[in-house]
């Protein structure tokens, strides 16, 4: 064991200097989600399947806006799976810490 200690003393430190040096997030990391409202057909399947009730639909059908509560979202990816028009994608943005819960709600509005 002493041998191992001394070996580690000589070795480079295993620590990554996050947040000062950031490494590239892995492909497929599910961070904050982004909805492309241009493609959304307002079918509501994402709302229906979300296990955490993190998506809310305001309005109906093709005119509906979507609201995502990041403080409820578990980043499970089911909404992207369910969406028939594949308009939900995940960014790799995971540094979402916030002092105020309100800032964790994002709205996706249709451009008129």
């Amino acid at each position: 064991m002493e041998h191992e200690l001394l070996r580690n003393l000589r070795k480079k430190v295993a620590t990554e200097k996050y947040p000062f040096i950031k490494k590239k997030p892995p492909e497929g990391l599910r961070g904050k989600l982004i909805i492309d409202m241009a493609k959304c057909i307002g079918c509501g399947l994402c709302v229906f399947d979300c296990p955490a009730g993190a998506i809310e639909m305001i309005g109906k059908g093709t005119a509906a806006d979507l609201k995502v509560y990041l403080d409820r979202c578990h980043f499970c990816g089911q909404c992207a799976e369910s969406c028939p028009s594949k308009c939900i994608v995940y960014s790799t943005e995971f540094e979402l810490a916030n002092f105020d819960k309100k800032n964790l709600t994002i709205e996706f509005k249709r451009k008129l």
Partner: protein, 320 residues
């Protein structure tokens, strides 16, 4: 000319008095934490000052500025007084061990015995402090402190006598000086004594693998569980001063104290030697799993006491 009283006063206050010791205490805590972190393949404190060197200082200031809660059930006076008393005791013990100069701030023939006595008192005050907070964790922790003392006190006292016998003095300062003048360093002549002393001191300052009284995984924080704010700051400072105490004691008794050749200021030698001792202590801390109190007691009586006695026998036979 500055009057002698003022020099005396300054020496108590600044160098080699309080300020010097406190700075040193923080420095050694940093050395300890940093070295252990490094052994564990990580950085340890990094952003408080260069390389995190101000970390212990930041901890101290933060604790001073925090709310200081006295639990309702606690014995208020004792609870309040004991941390101060402990720090005072640790500091005054240090005054009998040579640090910055080749002689201690205060010394007399027999201070070796006095120092062991002070160390025991320190332990007893810990028990009182633990008792006064009346929480069960503290109480069990406090009892463990005393049990632990039963383990380390005897072998520690015995090995400390070793150097005294050879150098024919009971003063720590003189023992250190004797080694320097004769060139007989006890680290070489009484290695068993050195090892036993370091192990005992490890138990005295309650560092792993003998951090049984503070065992985090079974007793929250042991006897210090209920202390917060300023009191906790003082307790932590005491712990750090004890770390110096351990380093200084080993240095004085076995490494010739703050002495060395070439007319370089003695404090440099002191720093080098104690840092060495502290690195050894940190290394041991990282090397072992915590012992159980019964294993610790059993081990000390089964191995360390005989070893200490063996050392003394060797010394009296003239081998040391």
């Amino acid at each position: 000319m500055v009057p002698a009283e003022i020099i005396e006063f300054l020496s108590v206050l600044i160098y080699p008095g309080f300020i010097f010791i406190f700075t040193l205490a923080f420095f050694y805590e940093w050395v300890d934490r940093k070295f252990v972190a490094r052994l564990q393949n990580r950085y340890g404190p990094l952003y408080a000052g260069p390389g995190g060197i101000l970390q212990p200082f930041a901890d101290f200031i933060k604790l001073l500025a925090k709310e200081d809660i006295t639990p309702r059930a606690a014995d208020k006076t004792t609870f309040r007084v004991t941390p101060i008393l402990m720090l005072a005791l640790a500091l005054s013990t240090l005054f009998f061990i040579p640090t910055a100069y080749t002689t201690a701030v205060s010394w007399f023939e027999g201070d070796l015995i006095f120092v062991t006595f002070l160390v025991s008192i320190l332990v007893l005050i810990t028990l009182i402090a633990a008792w006064s907070s009346t929480s069960t964790f503290s109480t069990v922790g406090g009892i463990r402190v005393v049990l632990q003392m039963l383990g380390f006190e005897i072998p520690m006292t015995i090995v400390m006598v070793g150097p005294a016998i050879v150098s024919k003095t009971l003063s720590i300062t003189n023992i250190a000086l004797w080694q320097y003048t004769t060139g007989h360093y006890f680290a070489i002549y009484q290695p068993i004594g050195l090892i036993v002393l370091i192990i005992c001191l490890l138990a005295e300052i309650k560092k792993a693998p003998f951090d049984i009284p503070e065992a985090e995984s079974e007793l929250a924080a042991g006897w210090i569980t209920e202390f917060s704010g300023r009191k906790l700051a003082l307790i932590r400072l005491t712990t750090d001063v004890e770390l110096i105490l351990a380093g200084a004691l080993v240095t004085a008794l076995f490494l010739g104290g703050p002495t060395g050749p070439f007319g370089i200021p003695s404090v440099i030698f002191f720093l080098i030697k104690t840092t060495g001792v502290i690195l050894v202590i940190s290394n041991l801390r990282a090397l072992f799993a915590r012992f159980r109190i019964d294993q610790m007691l059993g081990g000390f009586w089964k191995y360390l006491v005989p070893l200490a006695l063996l050392q003394i026998i060797l010394v009296t036979l003239g081998v040391g």
